[in-house]
Symmetry: C2
Subunit: 406 residues, 2 copies
Amino acid sequence: MSLLARADLEQLDRTDPLAHMRDQFDLPRGVIYLDGNSLGPPPRGVAARIARVATHEWGNGLIRSWTDAGWLTLSTSIAEKIARLVGAEPGSVAVGDSTSINLFKLLGGALAARPGRKILSEKANFPTDLYIAEGLIRHLGRGHRLQLVAAETIAAAIDDDTAVVMLTHVNYRTGAMYDMAAITAAAHARDALILWDLSHSVGAVPVDLAKAGADLAVGCGYKYLNGGPGAPAFLYIAPYLLDSLPLPITGWLGHADPFAFEASYRPAAGITRALTGTPPILSLTALDAGVDVASQAPIEAIRTKSLQQIELFIQLVEQECGDSLRLVTPREAERRGSQVCFAHPDAGAIMQMLVDRGVIGDFRPPDILRFGIAPLYLSYTNLWDAVALISGMLNENPFTQRAERH
Amino acid sequence: MSLLARADLEQLDRTDPLAHMRDQFDLPRGVIYLDGNSLGPPPRGVAARIARVATHEWGNGLIRSWTDAGWLTLSTSIAEKIARLVGAEPGSVAVGDSTSINLFKLLGGALAARPGRKILSEKANFPTDLYIAEGLIRHLGRGHRLQLVAAETIAAAIDDDTAVVMLTHVNYRTGAMYDMAAITAAAHARDALILWDLSHSVGAVPVDLAKAGADLAVGCGYKYLNGGPGAPAFLYIAPYLLDSLPLPITGWLGHADPFAFEASYRPAAGITRALTGTPPILSLTALDAGVDVASQAPIEAIRTKSLQQIELFIQLVEQECGDSLRLVTPREAERRGSQVCFAHPDAGAIMQMLVDRGVIGDFRPPDILRFGIAPLYLSYTNLWDAVALISGMLNENPFTQRAERH
């Protein structure tokens, strides 16, 4: 493979079919943003849109805006847009609460649907997924078990005692991606349910929940959906389960007729029953803007550019940094999501220096440099400039020596 | 009592020590807003403040704002302000999620702390409180029971089989208010916990959780706290319970060290353990503005004006409308919150006509006209003008005849 030059990347930018999408975002000058998998940047104009909602709908409309401004149906309309991004059937996605709360709802439902059986997950799953499972099991006090295994042994660990397999589709630390259809089939072969956490997938990689036959899913609104810090999350319940899954949290917005103020709970038809409290309109407004932008580009084009950008990033790191960074993300395209991670003993200090100089990625303990690849606003020359900075930094600083003292 | 004239109310406005507070809100012209107990209006400047957060903190700061802009501690600082509004000890209030979710957390904790015993509540409690309790009990599947009685028999219904007494301090339909200290003492006499829903109290009536010896509480951010549609809610856990109450939902923001990404849950010290997911910064920003405004006026001054405004409202209705409206709110000042409600068979149609003509209150089925009294922005002449409209409407329309056909 011949050496890459900056001119090669400039050429790729000139022919990038997604190049125009960058104008849909407000990104600060002098920053190369490789952390959209932690917090996506604001869609252009979102500040003005929220301000309008606050001034006109909240301020002028006041309580009337629940009906007149469509507040009561806002979360449903966002949910339908997200459904299209994850291959979910219409009416199978609900938007609201946090990813953690949604995990609790669905895991609670799964344990009720498969009483007495265990939750199976991956040791290296995102912590809140594991914490929520732990808390739920302790709270139920019925001897359920949370079994954690390594990613590569998940399929083999599914047995007749498994209630639900809970996995994050794309791992937050390594970027490794599961084969959704294969693991889903393995779960179903043992009559277990599958729950996919799509936090690092939605808007970044093609997801087809219906085609994979998935039962349950949750996902985050503030990463590749660019919905704003702490944006509302979403959940998915396969249509065949909608009427029978016993959800533990039954709030008034999930009632068949919330404004009849009946004394006893009657679940709403369909996915609406998964809603709980009064929807947060200001946060939903930002999420709606983010989902709209994410919906403008075909996911296949996003995926193509993402894979190419990661390949180039790896190639540039190998070319410019030698072997001082160890690739952690799988090399095979189909086994990774939309981030690229390298291990280095001084990852924390390196990332802090990068951030200080405008290349924003993430440090994940103990030793991971994590770079999120968001093709909607990341250019090819961004990659060159980021790696040039990393390389210069590694050459100028005694990181290796410091690492040896560990 | 002599008849009231509009001039009397104008005089009260001139000497109202809270009159200046109205300038802290953006209220549309031509509207008399008697629905702040459903959705408070925006604090002045809140739209610009959220837009600044979106532009500068989210847009320019990006992921760095979690630390640099104080996002990670925002909910804690709001919680401490709310603690002062409800007489809670420092470090005993957490802000986040919805009232419904917070009810689930605390009721789940209460049933774990008093295993096998029942939840006692009021038949006419706000529905989501009852729905959450129902769902929790069904989900636990351990034979817990939800017992509902009339408000006046609550104290007598507390027995040794009661795990927790869950009550809304000020009733959403009638405005009737419990004696918090007395009911709390009655619960404690039977070793039951008490959980107060302060949704219609906080910012409107004096609340002293610590003095009453309350164990648990939740409350809403979008009523008298003016935190915006669907604003985050809060919860309170008495300090003596903080370390021992087993919370069912254990998310990563409640972990002792969230960013260590440990595989197993370790609760944070103190009230932080009650947090769950990533905090919704845009919604919290609006709530912070609302809580700041609510904190500017002494609650005693708010209560004094509220009671006087309700007295005058009742007096005006009796003077102008005769006996066509039946008072539902208790007449005794100490037994009511900050709303006044009247029953009429055609309440729904009447309220719709009032709203169409700029007097915004609420209809609560089957027959309640509900008027929220928010002394921070409600003038005395507002009361006169509202009752004048109601009276004219009752005189001009054949409501009574229509009612007889029911």
